[in-house]
Symmetry: C2
Subunit: 228 residues, 2 copies
């Protein structure tokens, strides 16, 4: 099962399709982190001219998957401990805010749907066994819904459209697995409970801890990889 963003609009134009394909390729490491991007080469690979490709590159830059220099070109970003810390600092803050706002604005129905979703996940064999990929999708889905529940368009845009692809890249390429998978599940439930009780402050606090723990987990793996 390939994870599909819940806020995904159907790709109508050619550069929309390009964006999705290249995003996936970068996130999954098919286009290596740190590698240079050649516009002519990519254009040939996807059978398009450079015009829609450059449009897609502009959007890739927006979600921090590539970096561009004028007259020089684009590079896929590198993953680093500092980058991860900066990214998760922001996530803690923004998703904490999202929780507070969701506790205020999320309609009862959306809360109930999300509760049902968690129950469904819990009954999935793969989650109980700690299989990582499914959990990956389930976890992102959970966070997405909370963010959407905040009803703050700028916040939604920044988190879902600009930051989350990079988050996924860190998690996919560093293999988010191990004992945290099942513990994350309980944390999700606690957060959602707080929101259901309209306790924004508690939801905020729990979400910050949840993301902090997640950061710590990936951080360890990154340091292992760098020293090993």
């Amino acid at each position: 099962m390939v994870f599909q963003s819940p806020i995904l609009k159907a790709p109508v134009t050619s550069s929309d399709r390009l964006l999705l394909e290249i995003q996936r390729a970068i996130v999954e490491g098919e286009i290596a982190a740190g590698s240079k991007i050649s516009e002519p080469e990519l254009a040939r690979r996807f059978n398009v001219s450079r015009a829609p490709l450059r449009e897609a590159l502009a959007r890739l830059e927006r979600c921090h998957l590539i970096e561009r220099l004028p007259n020089v070109g684009a590079r896929v970003v590198k993953l680093s401990v500092e980058g991860l810390i900066s990214l998760y600092q922001l996530r803690e803050e923004l998703e904490g805010l999202a929780c507070r706002l969701a506790a205020e604005h999320m309609p009862e129905q959306e809360i109930q749907e999300l509760q049902a979703l968690l129950e469904k996940h819990l009954q999935t064999q793969r989650v109980r066994d700690g299989e990582s990929y499914y959990q990956e999708a389930g976890d992102l889905d959970f966070h997405y819904r909370i963010i959407l529940g905040s009803k703050n368009d700028y916040l939604i845009n920044i988190l879902c459209d600009e930051l989350y692809f990079l988050v996924r890249m860190y998690r996919v390429q560093l293999g988010m697995n191990g004992p945290r998978v099942s513990r994350a599940f309980d944390e999700h439930k606690a957060i959602l409970n707080a929101i259901a009780n309209r306790d924004g402050e508690l939801a905020d606090l729990l979400m910050r801890r949840h993301i902090g723990a997640s950061r710590h987990n990936i951080e360890l793996q990154l340091q292992l990889r760098e020293t090993g």
Copy 2:
């Protein structure tokens, strides 16, 4: 004096120049809020082809100054109370975080330079008299430096490159003036003092209050305009 972003890179390419000019035109209302943008017309106006113009439009979308629909085109954003609230909710959170990080990471020298800048502003006649435009630039300059002091690249990018043009648009088009101008000055000093004392929590709190007060001020003017 025209305010110049401290993080501004020299425009090297044609679309860089376009971006700056159109940004200014939109922020100052020369291109009206809510109006449709015609690519052929703008291209003629600036004597360029549509290629660099579209590149610039992509970046304008990134900083929330225009909204685009596939196969339909671009529109300048409208200013609204809800939009302002959403925007300032984010600012409170993000600039609060910036203060905490700045208290931790900002070098002594940068702090001293910023203190000197505040003193210089205080001695400027126009600020004492509450003249708005100079204060406008000075205020933004202050906020920029705190944000840069956070040393978190994602945070810097989101605030300075993506959100601040919209903030300026609200302030320019609604005329940020009145008694808040001089009071803002004292608040700046208090925030900087907290950072100099490496008291991140206090700086965070003061910054949130500062931005909240600023939001309240503009909000009043927006409601007056809408009901009047």
